[in-house]
Amino acid sequence: MELHPVQSTGPQETFVLNLGPQHPATHGVLRVKLTMDGEFIKDAVIVAGYVHREHEKMGENRPWDQFLPNTGRIDYLSAMMYTHAYVGAIERACGIEVPPRAEYVRVITSELNRISSHLVWWGAYLLDLGGMTPLLYAFDDREKILDLLEALTGARLTYCYYRVGGLAEDLNEGFVEGTRDFVKEFRPRLKMFRRLVSENIIFRKRVEGIGIIDAEMCRKYGATGPMIRGAGIPYDVRRAEPYSVYPELDFEIPVDPAADSMSRYKVRMEEMEQSLRIIEQCLDRLPDGPVMAKVPRVLKPPEGDFCYATEAARGRFEVRIVSTGKPIAHRVRLRTPCFGNLSLFEEAARGMMLADGIAMMGSLDLVIPDIDR
């Protein structure tokens, strides 16, 4: 039987377009079921779960500290902050005081990790918009960060560097100098990125006024991170629920009130700048001393619920642990930023054109394992 190309699916003459699970714009295995009317998205349904690994269950069936390698694999692009939230929750529960040197190193590595994560986003976003070269430039700089972190932790993505009560190892030789060099080199590169992309008329036309997600929508969906800051609200866990040594550091929370893709873009670009500032301050203040507190061999947090949130690259990452005083967690809940950030896509994409929808999806900065866990 011969069939004709377009199958009309109903009286509205819409058709269903499967964006994914393998599609260049979904950055992984995410499926978006779009109901299209021509090039306009009438309806979007997210089908997630292709890389679901049940991390929460894994947290419930092994000793507390053995869950650490998992945390870096939830969002592989900002593994440091995720591990930080988990060890932070246990430290909060057990009342462990982390040595200051460890805290400063945590902040330095987290911020380096944030820059590397944003660089991946920046390149991939431009790739979504059809420009391939920025991706390679971004990876050039990201490689430098990864080299630093690899020398420090031994891995390039899933660092597993933090331990409950401190760090796995002290800084290696050359890390401080290497980081200083990187900060020095990266500032002009950021400027170059701005001139290459941010001011480019084609890029501006693609993202300005596209994908407006206002503060109210973010509130209703629990979207955090650059999403809410791009909607003009200076909400940042580093300031709102201060952790580690962030209260002592001088940095700004970039906001942009336009709430479109461009403002999220600007916020992230500015965040990289602020991260550089944080890193510089931490390097200046880096104290000497141990990097590991005294921690019992077998961790037994007291009974109760404990939350610990960190500002991951994509927004608020929160770990809620429920302890019954045993060496194994009763419940580990991972509240990931992309989950909330993506859940509003269905509503926000309605009525957009396909290319704009992709421009918006890129501006959400998705990491699929972060949604699926």
């Binding site: 069939l3 377009v6 199958q7 009309s8």
Partner: protein
């Protein structure tokens, strides 16, 4: 002079190729069930027709034929198809019933017979002395001097048709 100087066999072969393309494309356009294939047939026929024009000493018209028919007419029709035609042709969609088709065939054959007979047996005048060679320059000059009425009329028709098309198409916009 023949603009396509060639040896004895190649020329008629190419001519037959183009003639075949014209007639084959036309037949294909008429007989196929899918409207999109019909457009392909029209395109083929246009290419064949362009070849005919080339053989009729007018490469200019040949190129214009391709430019307009492939580049504009076919594209526009495809546009219309994409916008408005149903996707799945049902049985007999777009065609009349069988007796009607038979009637159409009879009419077509009759017309062909009559017109072809007229063309072949017609009492054509002997070729007169050429006053020009039909080059592009001459066409241009003619369009602006002796034949300027035709140019004006075409211009007017195109203007009116564009305005009319806009008017008709825009009118639909407001009907929700």
């Amino acid at each position: 002079m023949n603009p396509f100087p060639a040896s004895e066999y190649i020329i008629p072969l190419i001519f037959l190729l183009f003639a075949g393309a014209t007639i084959g494309g036309a037949l294909f356009a008429v007989f196929t069930k899918w409207i999109i294939r019909s457009v392909c047939g029209l395109a083929t026929a246009s290419v064949g027709l362009a070849g005919m024009f080339y053989f009729l000493h007018s490469p200019f018209l040949a190129m214009i034929q391709i430019l307009i028919y492939i580049g504009a007419v076919c594209i526009t029709i495809v546009f219309a198809i994409m916008l408005a035609e149903p996707d799945e042709p049902q049985d007999g969609y777009g065609l009349h019933s069988v007796p009607w088709n038979v009637g159409a065939g009879i009419v077509a054959v009759a017309v062909f017979w009559g017109v072809a007979r007229l063309g072949v047996t017609g009492d054509w005048p002997t070729p007169a002395v050429r006053v020009s060679d039909g080059s592009v320059e001459m066409i241009g000059v003619a369009l602006l001097t002796t034949q300027s009425l035709a140019l004006e009329i075409v211009a007017l028709i195109l203007l009116v048709s564009i305005l009319g098309a806009l008017a008709v198409a825009r009118k639909g916009r407001h009907i929700e």
